[in-house]
């Protein structure tokens, strides 16, 4: 899942192919990777890719604001084993 998330972030928000340039714990918001409207794009992608609805109450930085947080959130929602990655 980490690779999938990273690929999406690189192609749609970072617009580059330098996979090593993004720390998995880096905040999308603080680093400006995702702007104030890009979060909706991210939510659409999650819903289309992972096959579940993102509830409004789950739209919080704790779930969505880094590659690791996102991976853990998706894993929890799809009931797979969550793993953080450096």
């Amino acid at each position: 899942m980490h690779d999938k998330i990273r690929e999406f972030i690189f192609e749609n928000f970072l617009f580059n192919a330098e996979g090593s340039a993004l720390d998995n714990d880096a905040s999308f918001l603080e680093t400006g990777i995702i702007d104030s409207t890009g979060m909706l794009e991210l939510v659409n992608w999650i819903q289309e890719t992972c096959g579940f609805e993102v509830d409004d109450t789950e739209l919080v930085p704790e779930n969505l604001d880094s590659v690791n947080r996102l991976a853990i959130y998706i894993a929890r929602k799809t009931q797979t084993e969550p793993q953080a990655s450096g």
């Binding site: 690189f10 192609e11 749609n12 970072l14 617009f15 580059n16 192919a17 918001l29 603080e30 400006g32 702007d35 104030s36 409207t37 890009g38 979060m39 909706l40 794009e41 409004d56 739209l59 919080v60 930085p61 604001d65």
Partner: protein
């Protein structure tokens, strides 16, 4: 409205050919006539759009003994009153033009003449006795004036393309300007998009002797920070009505018919209503309607036109209309733009011209003067929140921002809070109000090439801060935000890329009653609570307009003027050839400003219709316009200059001296 150009310094015996080349690039600004003056030490040129004194106003124009010569672009709205005053002092006039008033006022007051002028102007006066060139620009920066020095000569012109056509000036896009534009939306004057080409900042004059700049001075500033505290809203609204009515009355002065733009919003509706009241009849009105309903305001436009009984004209703008004229827009704007919004306005001014009019009044400037922009609300909310940063209720006000942006409204409270929380602890930062916007825009620099990034030193914001007046840091958030908008985005984008340049591209003059300096000064001193009451923007203007406009216009939610951005270039997955060419890997490598891989991914995203938010759209438009600028002004300029010379000066023979 007109185009001006000139050269001084060195021996100008052969300067007339260079001057003609310069004028040939300014014919759109003045297709009715042209003129040249040269005495070997200075050469002045002029292309004329005849609006006042159609017969007698030819330029360059001189005083009685030929010792003072002027080339003038603009309008002096109080010229009748000034002429009477000067005549009483013994000055003799041979025309009924506003141009001649400036000459005599200069004779009377020297550089102080500018402080008496009510108008929108850029002019150059050659004072033979002093052997001195005096150039000046209006207070708000409505009319442009560019200059450059090279090999002992000083060149000036209304547009940069004229400087490039007339002088042996190097043509190179300035990386520092790109850094500023991709942060602040505009460069900080005197810097322009081109190295070595400067603009005279608004409200400044300059003296040039022997081809070198001798002195520069600012002669006016917006008196924000001088808030009057004890004025009732009724007094404020009555005073605004009086001064705005007088400004509109003066700006209706013309020897040709005058029309008005109608956006469907408050400001242009007030302007059109005042014109109708003063002139006793509805003017011709002009609007942009969009095929994309997300941007369309035609319902409100039609309602206002019916209310005033105007003869209404509109363009219905499609995606391909925008992409079709975009290269022309960049040619006239002479700088990268981050939005397509200037394109429909370019098409609209063409309609004005085709209708037979050459002057329109617009509502521009009201948002800056009366406190209408959402960024002002944003600043007020963040300032309020910063006083109780732990409050759970105060950040809920953020929901009130940007009601017309579905993506913004769709995001969660937690994300909205997290985004605007940045910089909250530094409410005393003089640039507090604009930091979030600039931070968002700065992200576009991720597309810059490594070489360009290496030249981008930090600090566009700090450079802008240097222009802020003494005491600025102690002003309240709303006043500071108003000043920043008025000093930077208004002249640097609104009045240039969306104003003078796109209007003059079709030989149409825009006039702005809200930008009469008396209106600007009056609004600047109003109590801030009357400009924004709670979060009700332009409260005093709405109070003034009560009874003048239909309630639906008066009470509608403000919607800023926007146009479709990336969609315009990829509608239906197809792009115009120039888009494919300029965004190709080869073109991007050749020009060297952007990283081809990053741009390739962005283009792919835009092509599949997935561009989202400001970032993607601004990046696409900014990159494309920069590529166009390079193609037209750096790589292919000679061809355009030759075409301009060939087609340029076929007008009636001018009065040369």
């Amino acid at each position: 409205m007109c185009g001006i150009a000139g050269i001084t310094g060195g021996n100008l015996a052969v300067g007339q050919e260079a001057l003609k080349s310069m004028l040939s690039m300014l014919r759109h600004r003045g297709p009715d006539d042209f003129g040249l003056y040269s005495d070997g030490r200075a050469a002045l040129g002029h292309t004329r759009l005849s609006i006042i004194d159609l017969e007698g106003g030819r330029q360059p124009m001189s005083n009685e003994d030929g010792s003072v010569w002027i080339s003038f672009n603009g309008e002096i709205f109080n010229y009748i009153e000034l002429k009477d005053e000067l005549a009483r002092k013994g000055h003799r006039f041979s025309t009924n033009s506003d141009t001649e008033v400036i000459i005599h006022l200069y004779e009377e007051l020297g550089d102080g003449c500018v402080t008496r002028l009510n108008g929108q102007f850029a002019f150059a006066i050659w004072d033979k006795n002093r052997s001195e060139l005096f150039i000046a620009r209006d207070r708000l920066g409505i009319r442009p004036l560019f200059y450059s020095s090279h090999a002992g000569r000083f060149y000036f012109a209304s547009e940069i393309k004229a400087l490039f056509a007339g002088g042996p000036l190097p043509r190179e896009i300035d990386p520092a300007a790109l850094n500023e534009i991709f942060t602040l939306w505009c460069s900080v004057p005197p810097r322009t998009a081109f190295k070595g080409i400067n603009e005279l900042p608004p409200a400044h004059w300059m003296k040039i002797k022997d081809g070198a700049i001798a002195s520069v001075e600012r002669y006016w500033d917006v008196p924000l920070g001088e808030e009057t505290r004890d004025m009732s809203i009724e007094e404020a609204a009555d005073g605004l009505f009086d001064i705005l009515s007088d400004s509109t009355r003066l700006q209706l002065r013309a020897d040709v018919p005058v029309g008005a733009y109608l956006s469907g919003g408050l400001d242009s509706s007030v302007t059109a209503a005042l014109i109708t009241k003063i002139s006793g009849a509805g003017p011709h009105t002009f609007s942009v309607a969009f095929e994309d309903r997300a941007y369309d305001e035609s319902g409100f436009q039609h309602e206002m036109a019916r209310h005033l009984g105007t003869e209404h004209h509109e363009i219905r703008c499609s995606y391909s209309d925008i992409s079709g004229v975009f290269p022309e827009v960049v040619w006239y704007a002479e700088k990268p733009v981050l939005r397509t919004a200037p394109a429909p306005l370019f098409i609209l001014s063409r309609l004005v011209r085709e209708t037979g009019l050459k002057v329109v009044l617009t509502g521009e400037g009201a948002d800056e003067a009366a406190g209408g922009y959402d960024i002002f609300k944003e600043a007020k909310i963040r300032e309020f929140w910063a006083r109780e940063p732990e409050s759970r209720l105060r950040p809920l006000l953020l929901k009130k921002l940007y009601p017309y942006l579905s993506a913004f409204q769709g995001q969660s409270d937690a994300y909205r809070e997290a985004f605007f929380n940045g910089g909250l602890s530094d409410v005393s930062d003089p640039l507090f109000s604009h930091r979030p916007r600039w931070q968002t825009t700065s992200r576009l620099k991720a597309f810059f090439s490594k070489d360009l990034l290496a030249e981008c030193t930090p600090g566009p914001e700090e450079r802008l801060k240097m222009l802020m007046p003494p005491g600025f840091g102690s002003w309240r958030a709303l006043a500071r935000a108003q000043y920043i908008e008025t000093a930077s985005l208004l002249p640097g984008y609104i009045l240039s890329s969306q104003g003078d340049r796109v209007l003059m591209g079709n030989s149409v003059e825009g006039r702005y009653p809200f930008l009469d300096h008396r209106v600007v000064e009056y609004c600047a001193r109003l109590p801030l609570r009357h400009k924004m009451r709670g979060l009700d923007e332009k409260h005093v203007l709405k109070r003034m307009a009560h009874g003048m406009l239909p309630a639906s216009i008066l009470k509608r939610t403000k919607q800023p003027y926007l146009a479709p951005d990336s969609k315009s270039f990829f509608a239906g997955g197809k792009s115009p050839d120039y888009v494919e060419e300029l965004l190709s890997e080869g073109s991007l490598k050749d020009s060297g400003y952007f990283d081809p891989v990053s741009v390739g991914l962005l283009v792919k995203k835009c092509r599949r219709g997935a561009a989202s938010g400001f970032r993607d759209n601004m990046a696409l438009v900014g990159i494309l316009s920069t590529q166009l600028l390079h193609e037209m002004f750096i790589a292919g300029f000679e061809n355009r200059a030759v075409a301009g010379r060939d087609a340029g000066l076929r007008a009636p023979a001018a009065a040369a001296s």
